[in-house]
């Protein structure tokens, strides 16, 4: 919202020693955020109002004239000008050398210099509207060039242009969001009240502004409110003898400063009242309305109305409207007036309306219709119903200023169920001090509240505070609300920074949050994986690429784009998409993500689980890389005795023959698998991808066993290497079991596969596996004989399951 400082000065004296910037800063620190400060006169530097005293043709150019212009100095100056509407005696905008204008209203600002045009001196230029940021008289494509005629201004030649145009104003741009809870700040008077409290300067009461002269009563307006909840208060008055025309420059300038376009004197007055008091108004053409009785009701289904913006709106049964006595809709209440009954050039009788509308109903209607206006924005916040009469009074006052011949022919008639209520809050001074955390004298608390129009009574610690009606529509109702008033006006800057003096209390332990960081450290810094952070959703197309069914997915009702429609039930699809995107740049990748999935398990809320999913991307079988990384992870994470078994859960995106389940205490908590080649193809990935996925919550729940210390063996052990030839599909597990079983005297400490080979030198359909065993007796050195016995037993066991021992004599 744009706030004119000149307007504020109507109600409170702003110290001249404070710059506009500083005033803006004050408001930001005590009331609401000022996002920008705009000095309107900056655009009119080195420009004056000039009076054309004589005109001559340019001797050397057909379309140019030589103008002698009075610019308030002892001698008139000569300016070359091409404006075809230029006349002697006209008041014009003169941009003197040094000023900056926008040529023909286009491009960057250009600084003027004293110059000669076709041999004739020109001291600056006479400007068209668009060249100095005023309304243009040169519509696109017009053949004539018209300069801005300012003859209507009541100022002498030589007056600085910003003064003549009433542009000697500074505008504060306030962030609307910071006014969400403050209906009282949607007009200049409310902001002036804040300045008054902050600066400790008196606020001028509205007395003169509300005065008007009532003429001979010849009418009495009436309102019929069919829905009391919708309209708590509705005020009206009737005026005759109005002449519609442009409003005076001072009013236009105020409206422009506050960001509104002037339209005509009557509409401008209603807007002026809204900008001043925050109360939107409407003026109807009484003759078009055809009755002095207005009906307030909700629209009927399918009812239509063409509004002032010339758009036709189809109304919803809950939309609030105002109708004439014939029940014809005149406007959408609280949002926008109708075109037909609006003010036009021929209007001379008015029905003025200032009403209070229910904030929720206006808000809903505005959202439904898709029309957010200056009025609806204000009603949505919950305006003070007592303002309706004041607004009518102010409007009548302004109408009589601008149209002295206008006659108020009715009393102000107010209808509605609303009754003024007093809202009192008990305020405990000690509680204020405790919540703010600093000592604020009670006199200061009282001063602040009074400056904001609260009534304060009582003495000692307990005060009684009466809330003024403009703060009583929901904004202030609790002691805490008063704490805010005191804290902000006293100044947040004055509050000291203090660390709380609290007893030591250990935080509740959160293993999961702690171990998420541990897991990241292991994955990134020990195992060399890079972390990804993907969205929580994906598209139907993507889930189908992974062979997932839509079932079990939570869908987003109002999704932003087609590729973000379903909440992910697995992290894998988005990881595969990122692998695909990166695969042009990187042939080999190790990536991981820790994040949640969301599954519809039939309850109201989804089941949210945290998963760690890691992928190895390389040319050729990636399974063992992924399995090795997972085993290393589980070891580093100190997972208790993980076991591996053919996967129980069939993942649709996993290779059916290359999926291994990870079990902890008999429960499958994850899998390691090669991605299904069909899925890789769908994602356009040429490399092999193997993934391990661990249910992180289960992993953390499994706990981390205590390490029990074992003394290292005192006696040297012996190593035994054995290579065997076996049939291709014989598993390592089978051979290991056979070796283990052969060990009757319990001396084999470990069995490790250290080489796998097939190809040259190995018969077709077979492979060579090499194991290294560590043999050791717990109490003494192993004898050669024991070693030999063990070896024989191993050979026998392996041969029994069909292995051929390589390199064995004979």
């Amino acid at each position: 919202m744009d706030i004119s400082l000149n307007w504020i000065k109507d109600f409170v004296d702003l110290p001249s020693k404070l710059s506009a910037q500083e005033l803006g800063e004050l408001l930001t620190r005590h009331t609401a955020e000022v996002e920008g400060v705009k000095d309107l006169k900056k655009s009119y530097e080195n420009m004056v109002l000039g009076k054309v005293t004589s005109l001559k043709k340019h001797p050397d150019a057909d379309k140019l004239k030589l103008a002698k212009v009075d610019i308030g100095q002892s001698k008139d100056v000569q300016i070359v000008c091409g404006g075809q509407n230029l006349e002697e005696g006209m008041l014009v905008a003169v941009a003197l050398p040094g000023s900056k204008v926008r040529w023909h209203g286009e491009g960057e600002l250009v600084e003027l210099k004293e110059t000669k045009i076709r041999g004739e001196k020109s001291f600056g230029m006479i400007c068209a509207g668009e060249e100095i940021g005023l309304e243009t008289d040169n519509p696109k494509g017009a053949s004539e060039v018209r300069i801005k005629d300012l003859s209507h201004l009541k100022a002498k030649a030589g007056t600085p242009l910003h003064k003549a145009l009433h542009k000697d104003d500074v505008v504060l741009d306030i962030d609307n969001k910071s006014l969400t809870h403050r209906p009282d700040l949607w007009g200049h008077y409310g902001i002036a009240r804040e300045f008054s409290a902050i600066l400790e300067k008196p606020l001028k009461t509205l007395k003169e502004e509300l005065k008007y002269k009532e003429g001979k009563r010849s009418a009495r307006p009436k309102a019929q409110i069919k829905n009391d909840e919708l309209c708590p208060r509705f005020s009206m008055a009737i005026v005759k003898g109005v002449k519609v025309g442009p409003s005076p420059q001072w009013m236009q300038s105020r409206l422009e400063a506050a960001g509104m376009n002037p339209i005509n004197n009557i509409v401008d007055i209603t807007n002026y009242v809204m900008l001043e008091l925050g109360q939107p108004m409407h003026a109807y053409d009484r003759q078009v309305v055809g009755s002095d009785e207005l009906i307030v009701r909700c629209a009927k289904k399918g009812e239509k109305l063409t509004a002032l913006d010339e758009q036709e709106y189809t109304l919803h049964p809950e939309d609030p409207i105002v109708c004439n006595k014939k029940d014809e809709p005149l406007g959408i209440a609280g949002i926008k007036g109708g075109l037909k009954s609006g003010i036009n050039a021929d209007t001379n009788e008015l029905i003025l309306e200032a009403a209070n509308w229910d904030k929720v109903m206006v808000r809903k209607a505005s959202a439904r219709i898709g029309l957010r206006t200056d009025a609806s924005q204000r009603f949505e916040k919950g305006l003070d119903p007592s303002m309706t009469e004041l607004a009518i009074q102010r409007a009548l006052n302004l109408i009589q200023q601008l149209c002295p011949e206008a006659e108020v022919v009715s009393p102000i008639v107010t209808t509605g169920k609303w009754k003024a209520k007093t809202l009192k809050i008990n305020l405990n001074a000690a509680s204020v001090i405790s919540k703010i955390g600093m000592d604020i004298p009670k006199t200061e608390m009282k001063r602040i509240l009074k400056a904001l129009d609260f009534k304060v009574s009582g003495s000692g610690e307990k005060l009684t505070v009466e809330v003024p009606s403009h703060r009583a529509t929901g904004d202030v109702s609790l002691e805490e609300d008063l704490v805010e008033e005191i804290a902000r006006i006293h100044g947040y800057d004055k509050i000291p920074a203090i660390l709380p003096d609290l007893p030591i209390k250990l935080p509740h332990e959160n293993e999961e949050s702690f171990h998420k960081h541990t897991a990241r450290e292991i994955m990134a810094h020990q195992l060399g994986f890079t972390e990804l952070m993907n969205y929580s959703f994906y598209s139907k197309e993507r889930l189908e690429k992974c062979g997932l069914s839509e079932e079990g997915h939570f869908k987003i009702l109002n999704y932003l784009s087609e590729d973000q429609t379903h909440m992910r039930t697995s992290l894998t699809p988005n990881i595969l998409a990122k692998i695909s995107e990166n695969s042009r740049e990187f042939a080999n990748m190790r990536v991981f993500e820790i994040g949640r999935n969301y599954k519809d398990t039939g309850n109201y809320m989804p089941t949210e689980q945290k998963w760690l999913v890691a992928a190895v991307v390389q040319k050729g079988e990636a399974f063992y890389e992924a399995k090795g990384a997972m085993q290393a992870f589980l070891a580093a994470f100190r997972t208790p005795k993980p076991q591996f078994k053919v996967a129980k859960t069939k993942l649709p995106y996993a290779h059916p023959k290359k999926s291994l389940g990870v079990l902890v205490r008999g429960q499958e908590i994850g899998q390691v698998f090669t991605v299904h080649p069909g899925v890789l193809k769908a994602f356009d990935i040429e490399q092999d991808v193997a993934i391990f996925a661990l249910h992180f919550n289960a992993l953390v729940e499994a706990g981390r066993p205590k390490v029990s210390f074992k003394e290292p063996a005192k006696f040297p052990g012996m190593e035994m290497d054995i290579s065997v030839l076996v049939e291709e599909r014989k598993t390592v597990e089978e051979l290991k079991k056979a070796i283990q079983k052969s060990d009757k005297s319990n001396i084999i400490q470990s069995i490790r596969l250290f080489d796998t080979y097939s190809g040259k030198g190995i018969p077709d359909g077979q492979k060579s596996l090499s194991f290294r065993m560590e043999l050791q007796h717990p109490e003494r050195t192993l004898t050669d004989e024991e070693f030999t016995v063990a070896q024989e037993a191993i050979f026998l066991a392996l041969e029994q399951i069909g292995a051929t021992i390589r390199g064995k004599g004979n």
Binding site: T180, H181, G437, D481, K505, F554, N558, Q564, E585, R590
Partner: protein, 352 residues
């Protein structure tokens, strides 16, 4: 006696000669020869001892002792010289060794933690040191916890400020529709219900807004919620804790300033600015010459929110805050486009 005297002299001479010989040996061979010459079976010392044959027992004893000492000393010297030669030979042998020191080291797997989680960890650490518990809550949340419980009733204008994603599911009688949480604040009520007061909690986590994507707007980003409740917790404490937190996070003295702000779940509502980390408050491009950077919304927890959480507002009071972790990360690393963080482009992720 004279003979004895001369034998001792000879022994001295022998030691002197042997030492010179050891010193002069440049190789193992020369050293071995010298050892043999002086200490060998047929060496000089043995020869000298042979001359003792005819001497008295006393003389034998006394000379024998002296000769043994010389022998020990020489043996030690031979050993030392032997080691020295060994080292000299190694030194000589590697004199011509060469390695291309510019060639890269053997490749090791190196990975990277996403910057968001690096900063999250640091934030958690600092608050934990101040006695805060870290918790999290559901990302798919009910309207009740996301709005009503936080004093944001239906049709409250504040719902406009947070464009909400809704889940395509029927509404629940008490809890309302399901939404993607628009802030981490629902955990205020959840934590109060779970732990009761007094309380010190931080909640980092992912939040969602139905906002079009551009360089500074994401529909998915991370926040950190924090709150402290006790019988006497004040706005002054909020200033103190945040100033301390930021100073630790940025490793320099930070200042905070408060401005009025509006959030329905706090009263008073406050906007917190921090002194600009880049210019220390002198004014620069980042802080738009103001010396301050908008950091977060905060305030005293609204009594209605305390009530939602089952905490008695007459007995307890406290503050809450919520800041954008994603924005903080962008600021810390100078990331100019929020979309980079979720891009998954390894050329980006591998920088951290």
């Amino acid at each position: 006696m004279r003979a004895h005297f001369s034998m001792k002299k000879e022994l001295q001479q022998l030691e002197k000669d042997a030492l010179a010989s050891i010193k002069g040996s440049a190789s193992y061979e020369e050293l071995k020869d010298a050892e043999r010459e002086f200490l060998g079976k047929k060496g000089a010392l043995t020869g000298l001892l042979k001359g003792l044959k005819d001497k008295s027992i006393e003389e034998k004893k006394s000379f024998g002792k002296a000769a043994n000492e010389v022998k020990k000393r020489l043996e030690g010297t031979f050993e030392a010289r032997n080691k020295q030669i060994e080292r000299e030979q190694i030194d000589a042998a590697i004199e011509n060794d060469w390695l291309d020191l510019t060639a890269p080291g053997t490749q090791q797997a190196t990975g990277n933690i996403h910057p968001l989680y690096q900063v999250q960890k640091e934030v958690e650490r600092i608050f934990q040191e101040m006695g805060f518990t870290v918790v999290d809550g559901p990302e798919v949340e009910s309207e009740y916890y996301n709005f009503e419980g936080l004093n944001i009733p239906a049709h409250h204008p504040a719902r406009d400020m947070q464009d909400t994603f809704f889940i395509d599911k029927p509404s629940h009688k008490e809890e309302g529709r399901l939404v993607l949480r628009t802030h981490t604040s629902p955990n205020q009520v959840r934590a109060m219900r779970k732990y009761g007061a007094p309380l010190r909690i931080v909640v980092p986590g992912r939040v969602f807004r139905n906002e079009a994507l551009d360089a500074s707007h994401e529909h998915t980003f991370d926040q950190v919620e924090g709150f402290m409740i006790d019988t006497h917790i004040s706005i002054a404490h909020l200033k103190g804790v945040m100033q301390e937190f930021l100073s630790r996070l940025f490793h320099k003295e930070m200042k905070v300033r408060f401005r009025p702000g509006y959030f329905p779940f706090v009263e008073p509502g406050i906007e917190l600015d921090m002194s600009c980390v880049f210019c220390s408050g002198k004014g620069c491009k980042v802080c738009k010459k103001t010396g301050w950077i908008e950091f977060m919304g905060c305030g005293m927890i609204h009594p209605k929110v305390l009530e939602s959480g089952g905490v008695d507002p007459k007995k307890y009071q406290g503050w809450a805050f919520g800041f954008g972790l994603t924005r903080l990360v962008m600021m810390l690393y100078g990331i100019n486009d929020i979309r980079y963080l979720t891009s998954g482009d390894l050329r980006i992720n591998k920088q951290f």
